[in-house]
Amino acid sequence: MSARQIFTRPARIAVIAPYLWMGLFFLVPFGFVMKISLSQSAIALPPYTPVFDLAAGWDALAAAFAELSLDNFRLLISDNLYVLSYLRSLTVAAVSTAILLVIGYPVAYAMARLPRGWQPLAMMLVIVPFWTSFLIRVYAWINILQHDGLLNKVLLWLHLVSAPVVWLSTDTAMYLGIVYSYLPFMVLPLYATLAKLPHALGEAAADLGCSPRQAFWLVTFPLSLPGIGAGVLLCFIPIVGEFVIPDLLAGSGSQMIGQTLWLEFFTNRDWPVASAIALILLAVLLLPLTIYERVQLRQLEGGR
């Protein structure tokens, strides 16, 4: 029972600036993406046509409007290149998220089991790499995975292989890079949920006859599902649109959709197709995004 009404008015004034900002710089641009996706590529500045010139009068606007078409979308749906790219992105994201969960859960669980005083330190240890440049860390893996890099050296020294193995430009390297970069995104929400579980629950389970393994699967795991959900969403959605990691570490075979978009935009200078790719990607991600929004709302605003 808080002094709700007293703070409401100033708070509503506070909301104006961020609201306008996000409206202009987040929401409005999607309108432009939509418009460009319906346009054609052109050798001009800007490199698309038609261009809506508000000063040119109503007729010019109407004519420009008529030029809009769904050609780009038809291209995307029909051409295998794009369809495969979407599918590959979804597959890679799903597989990576699964690996992240398998690796991240034990780490988060161990962190939550540390004595209270050690937990902030452990959390800092997990966060620091996350804050030290994503690009750098991917690059660091290139260092290690090179033909004559550290990994091959170690493997040769241990006599596990007889000749240097090709690591770079493979799917393995890409998965390694993705898992490495997104690990904190999986570990932190999991840890947050696990750390909040009262120890008394595990003790009660033991008191009632559960072995440690049973106590985990019957009590701890179900209660950690919200954390799992949060971690999965925080990883899956951005991985689908990943660009840097597959670009630097994966082979030149099938591309992920982020790479395709980049290619279309920067190399082919085909802004309309790139926009169409972005829109369809957004549509593909709509369901996970909605689930994510609902989870966030409940978590951060539950009980308002």
């Binding site: 029972m1 808080s2 002094a3 009404q5 007293i6």
Partner: protein
């Protein structure tokens, strides 16, 4: 049935118009009515306690007085002005919060000075006032410390000093002693009373602890489900409860139900279920109904082997009940006895342990006579 009891009780000191008049205040949260058309007058210089079980609305009422909630309807008049809609920082009312709410980034002195700075007092006066407050709550030497360097009791004093610094018309205390241990709580209660008398201020305290309310308050308002069940002095509340619920809420009580058999010379004879015929004094407001509830406090019941001695005043008018001791409970200063009457009911009696060696104490299984005077009972509506 709970009646909306009238606001005024016997005036202890008739000092003119009341300081605070709460008129038909109503507050609901969603579907739940927290304060139900409550009216109450509080006099200047009073130490008033709002007592009640959790969820009865006492905290909501207090917060409405402070300004953190606004009543859905009704008026709150302070010195004749309606302050129901006035924002908290514009009211001459200050509150001492339950968990103290000290500013962790400010020292003790700055916490106390906070309200004075907002009031725009000149620097020298602020310093003087702060020193005065610090002396009042006996925290000399602690002015520079931060809240996290103080004990619970010390933090509580800072909270009190901070709330008093602005010399409000009304000081509200929200369960201020809940976090203290028993001994500290008791000594702080006495200090609060002394402080209030010395400053001549009006205090309103919210508490769920009956002993605390009885100790500190001049008058107590007992709340139940958003309404006032009774407003009275501690003595009146304990000895003359207005309803069965109040009688059972405040302290221990024995309840006997029965039909009125006879009325005669200011005495009622009631045929009770399980305790035979009991003679009680007719209450000031005659009871219309044919059946009634008799309330007797445990310490009013005396025990002896053969009943009251012949030389006691009105020995023959006493109610005598035969029974057997069922349970004995030892509490140091007193012993409680559960007596199973021959007529069926069970009574609780409490007797002070006036001698150190319990030569006369009753043991379980012994036959005993429980007796009490008709004036020691109260007749209540069923």
């Amino acid at each position: 049935m709970i009646e909306n009891v009238a606001k005024r009780s016997a005036p202890a000191d008739a000092s003119g118009a009341p300081l605070l008049q709460i008129e038909a205040v109503w507050k609901r949260f969603g579907g739940f009515v927290a304060v139900n058309r409550l009216s109450l007058d509080i006099r200047a210089g009073e130490f008033f306690a709002l007592l009640g079980p959790s969820g009865c609305g006492k905290t909501t009422l207090l917060r409405m007085l402070a300004g953190f909630e606004t009543p859905d309807s009704g008026r709150i008049l302070l010195d004749g002005q309606d302050i129901a809609a006035v924002l908290p920082h514009q009211r001459p009312v200050n509150m001492m919060f339950q968990n103290y709410a000290l500013f962790p980034h400010l020292s003790v002195a700055n916490n106390i000075a906070f309200g004075l700075k907002r009031a725009g007092l000149p620097g020298r006066e602020i310093r003087e006032r702060v020193a005065e407050m610090v002396a009042l709550v006996k925290l000399e030497g602690m002015e520079r410390r931060k809240p996290d360097q103080l004990s619970g009791g010390q933090q509580q004093r800072v909270a009190l000093a901070r709330a008093l610094a602005r010399r409000p018309r009304l000081l509200l205390l929200d369960e201020p002693l809940a976090a203290l241990d028993k001994k500290l709580r008791e000594s702080t209660q006495l200090e609060l009373m002394a402080l209030q008398k010395r400053l001549g201020m009006t205090f309103i305290i919210v508490t769920h602890d009956q002993d605390e309310a009885m100790t500190v308050a001049d008058r107590i308002g007992v709340m139940q489900s958003g309404r006032l069940a009774q407003v009275a002095t501690p003595r009146q509340l304990y000895e003359t409860p207005a309803s069965r619920w109040v009688a059972e809420f405040v302290g221990d009580v024995n309840m006997l139900e029965g039909a009125i058999e006879a009325r005669d010379h200011g005495r009622l004879t009631v045929a009770t279920e399980g305790a035979g015929r009991i003679s009680i004094a007719e209450p000031r407001q005659p009871i219309e109904a044919t059946s009634v509830c008799i309330a007797i406090r445990p310490e009013k019941i005396k025990l002896s082997r053969r009943g009251p001695a012949a030389d006691i005043d009105h020995a023959d008018a006493m109610n005598r009940l035969d029974g057997e001791v069922a349970e004995v409970g030892y509490y140091g200063g007193l012993t409680s006895y559960k007596i199973r009457l021959d007529t069926g009911a069970t009574l609780l009696a409490k007797m002070a342990n006036t001698t150190r060696l319990d030569a006369d104490a009753y043991r379980a299984g012994q036959h005993v006579v429980a007796w009490f005077a008709p004036d020691d009972c109260v007749a209540l509506d069923k």
